[in-house]
């Protein structure tokens, strides 16, 4: 298992439901095709100042890799934190 830490800004299409529920559907890295999210493995929260950071571990339709996305509530930006790859 290899973990590549990226902290790369990405564009994400997500559903924002009542009660602060966020569900990412699709993300796009620069100069790459979109990755459709097939499964959210887990999500957890951290704090940065008074603001929340939402983390999602997701699988996509494009590879067997697992991607960790982060939604920064403060400025409503999305980041690709790391990719976990087999091998």
């Amino acid at each position: 298992m290899q973990i590549s830490r990226l902290h790369e800004p990405i564009r994400v299409r997500a559903d924002f439901g009542p009660g602060g529920v966020v569900k990412p559907r699709l993300f796009k890295r620069e100069k790459m095709e979109a990755f459709r999210i097939t499964r959210v493995n887990s999500k957890w929260e951290d704090k940065e100042q008074e603001h929340t950071l939402l983390y999602f571990s997701v699988c996509t339709d494009r590879s067997d890799d697992v991607f960790q996305l982060c939604f920064r509530e403060r400025d409503r930006t999305w980041w690709l934190e790391c990719v976990m790859m087999d091998g």
Binding site: W44, S57, V66
Partner: protein, 401 residues
Amino acid sequence: MNSCILHVDIDAFFASVEQIRNPALQGKPVIVGSGVIASCSYEARKYGLYAGMPLRKAKKLCPHAEVLEGHYPTYRCFSRRVFECCREIAPHVEELLDEAYCDITGTEALQGPPLKIGRSLKQSVNERTGLTVSVGVGSNRMIAKMAGSSQKPNGLVKVEQGDEEGFIRDLSVKELPGIGRARLKVLRKLNIKTIADLRALDRQSLRVLFGSDGLALHERCRGRDSRVLDENEIPRSISRATSFHEPTSDATEIEGMLYYLLERATRAMRELGLRCGTVGVQIRYSDSGGHQSNRTLPSPTSLDKELFQTARERLWKLYTRRASLHSIGVKLSNFSTGGQLQGQLFDQQTPDKLARLYSCLDRLRQKFGHSVIVAGKSFEAGKNLDGDRYGYRLRTPSLTK
């Protein structure tokens, strides 16, 4: 009113979080740690692996295990959610790293019997985090913990009031809190194997063997434990240690790492409102075993500057050989709380001024992450290290601290 304590223990914590984050790891032996195992999955335990085992040995026993360095800030997020669930069912919760004691005394009328509370807690933890916990219910914290440990993973065990002696009598003495490796050796020499065997020793004999702790053991082997739940327990010591990516003899890098580790330890200490009376430094040469040295300070302090002076002096007292260092660590102990800081008569910067400075640094780091301000000395240590807002990514982070 009979007291009722719930002990909640997260099963194979770090490894389980990794399996939840990455489904490809589910059902596989997973090890978290570098240097030694900090946590391993139950699949790995089948091969004889356990926390604390050197990784080299673990890889021999289970060569196909997935080894991950781990990421403590992520684990902390998960444990925080578990403790939130605990606080929903208990008015009084003592939180440790991957376990919690919940005092649910007197809540039966509101929430139902303890086993029902335990079941609903397990369910809510699993729904919110995906983790499983083992829950033990007992009349005191020791019995609750021993009950939980008797059925892992994902167990739920209750020891009825009055059954405590019977429950523990046939267990091995090493299951008893307060019996470590050294004490176990002493007891083995006396052919004492079970808790029932230990009960044969009277107070006086236990006192002769183990000092004042012997009296506590006399009570514990009878299922009695008077320790109360403490939400802000004072630890015996706070340690931070790591190995270098490459063995080094560079004085600037070594001192830089010592300062960085000390900063991390003192920040944790100040968060608990403590001052320490003893500073210890431990080093390990790349070609031989470890050495350590402690120094008791003239008066307890929480100031990095004062503690670093002593730690630095200890370091150079220990580091006498012309060999590179494999690892370094710092340990703060002998804690005290409150009181005024003792100043030096001819000190330029008064302790009050420094205390305000460090408290300000702590607040900034609490808000923006440890890396928001890096001390010049620590900067030297970080030249060859990656980092994020939580700090440098060390080779062997103290995941359990």
